[in-house]
Symmetry: C2
Subunit: 356 residues, 2 copies
């Protein structure tokens, strides 16, 4: 039987940020969810309490050995006034796959869904009303045992915090420029690139610095073995629209199985289009671009949904994708997925979970 | 000019653990060092204060993106009653190489050395007296900005905590059994395996679980590209004594440049022995073992100093190294390095830094 969630309401609600100032991940709602783990006792003391700092011993394992994982999803306010989540069961399953890979005890999936449900409802007034806005939800687990041996922690905290987010594209969807990274590697099969563990993100910061110096917004990651197969763009999955088909890198172990990626594949096939999940090399990418067959390239992820790529920088050359503006398919995917999320259009797959 | 270190002494010294109960990384001394970083202000407010918990926002970047690095070194009590560090300048340089790779601002190396110096002296009574014991010193940096964007943190804490450690080999140096890992990969060139970032250690836990199930103490890591070149053993560097020479994996980017590794190479060459830093495959390892030419294999690291390997498990077969007991060279290296560390023998290289 699922353990109960104890609720302590805040007595001091915080002031709300101005709509124009929301941004991403800067402001947090009035409450958070916590669940503790102790060896021999399991996950216990599920509770929602006022958002507040946490106090840890300086020897807590998360600080030293990075035993930490997270998820990211959003709650949306529909035009009819409902509050919905988008495929949360996918996030919860991936949360536990991440836990398992990082030697963290798995968590009752029903309890996580219930925690998301209750927490969003408690802080529902924090979900902004403006078009394109939403409430970003960040479940995460950290190892808290205060002992310096390199071994799985005997104590953890699973927490959920939430942050209102502004429209990702406040001046319309804009294609970005991408730097093809040849020095640094994000992940390799056999490693942890296929799960959402904290260290993957710190490892990518250095390459991002280089991309910025090249005037690019993000990095295109190549695989760590052959240094030629495309894996991800920034921290998004990536799709290529070539002639009459769409290609996306296969899940070979070095890249994250994104939920937006999965949704895009579903939609494309639902529309009768041909999708290939396979190895796709930078050489093939350059070739189809030179042949004029690369119609579109776009990233997919929870934050941006669809992020069209306008140009690529590779070996000192700038390659323009299509005509450099957002492609037809990217635009249609963006409209459809955000439409399903916000209730603007029909949901043929049962992806919306209505909270109220 | 180096910034001053403000000192606040504890008014409540903690009880000391019994010598027999010390273990590794379980008890912490009375004081710790802290240095804060804020964007635009740099590293500031160097201070030693009573050991105490730290309070962070749940959105602190270290919890989500693993922007965290550490070092490990020891303070020794010599037979003459001096307190010494072993090659601390090597740890401090590596600390900043780790910082740089993880997009963390580098720290004044002179200040770090001074902080180590003062902190060890303040808590000097925590250094145990029994043979083989020491005070383990853990400098580390964590990203503390409370913002969920994937970008380098604008705030950090650099801290040093210390823990008395018991004799690693309380019943004499014992060879360990090693499981050759073929599924999981620790690191790959272009990634972060050559620096001491937190995420590397969490990523290795799953393989360690498998080794334990196979009755082995540690994992032998193979490279992530060819899946055949030996890289590290557990979280130690590794050496092979073959015929008249010693082989250790070259620093190809996937393994940590250990300070004990460097000291071992120095000593072996000082003794007139031939050391090869090169690629060394599991196939070559198995072949020399089968040919009877593998005299010794041992790991090197700060915790164990020298850790002889007695046997290897590879493809269901158990290969015994030498006669399964500690080899002559491993024993001589262990005696020499611990001898230099504790002042029992001469220090021809100036590796000891005497604090008092």
């Amino acid at each position: 039987m699922m353990q109960p969630i104890h609720i302590e309401h805040t007595s001091a609600p915080k002031p709300r940020p101005k709509a124009s100032d929301i941004g991403f991940g800067k402001y947090f709602t009035d409450h958070m969810f916590i669940l503790d783990y102790d060896d021999g006792k399991g996950w216990h003391d599920a509770r929602i309490q006022p958002y507040q700092p946490i106090t840890l011993d300086p020897a807590a394992k998360v600080f030293h050995y990075g035993q930490a994982i997270f998820e990211g999803l959003k709650a949306y306010r529909t035009e009819a006034g409902n509050l919905v989540l988008f495929r949360p069961e996918m996030n919860i399953k991936r949360l536990n796959r991440s836990n398992d890979r990082m030697s963290i005890p798995v968590i009752d999936e029903e309890l996580v869904l219930e925690a998301l449900h209750q927490l969003v409802l408690i802080d529902q007034t924090w979900i902004p009303h403006e078009p394109g806005t939403s409430l970003y939800i960040r479940p995460f687990v950290i190892a808290t045992e205060d002992m310096l041996g390199v071994s799985p922690s005997k104590q953890y905290k699973f927490m959920i915090i939430m942050s209102p987010v502004g429209a990702y594209y406040d001046e319309g969807v804009k294609p970005i420029s991408i730097y093809v990274e040849s020095e640094f590697v994000r992940a390799v099969a056999g490693g942890v690139g296929h799960v959402k563990t904290a260290g993957n993100y710190a490892a990518g910061l250095k390459a991002q610095e280089g991309a910025t110096l090249q005037g690019c917004a993000q990095v295109l990651w190549l695989d760590g073995v052959h240094r030629k197969y495309v894996e991800e763009v920034g921290s998004m999955n990536v799709f290529f629209h070539l002639g009459d088909k769409i290609v996306t890198p296969a899940l070979t172990g070095g890249l994250l199985p994104g939920i937006t990626r999965d949704s895009v594949i579903h939609l494309l096939r639902y529309w009768g289009l041909k999708v290939e999940e396979r190895l796709f090399s930078i050489d093939e990418l350059v070739q189809v671009q030179k042949d004029g067959n690369l119609k579109e390239m776009f990233g997919t992820g929870t934050a941006a949904v669809i992020s069209p790529v306008g140009s690529l920088v590779w070996k000192g050359e700038t390659l323009t994708i299509g005509d450099g503006s957002i492609g037809e398919l990217a635009a249609h995917l963006y409209e459809t997925i955000t439409g399903i999320q916000t209730g603007r259009i029909e949901d043929p797959f049962g992806w919306r979970v209505v909270l109220k």
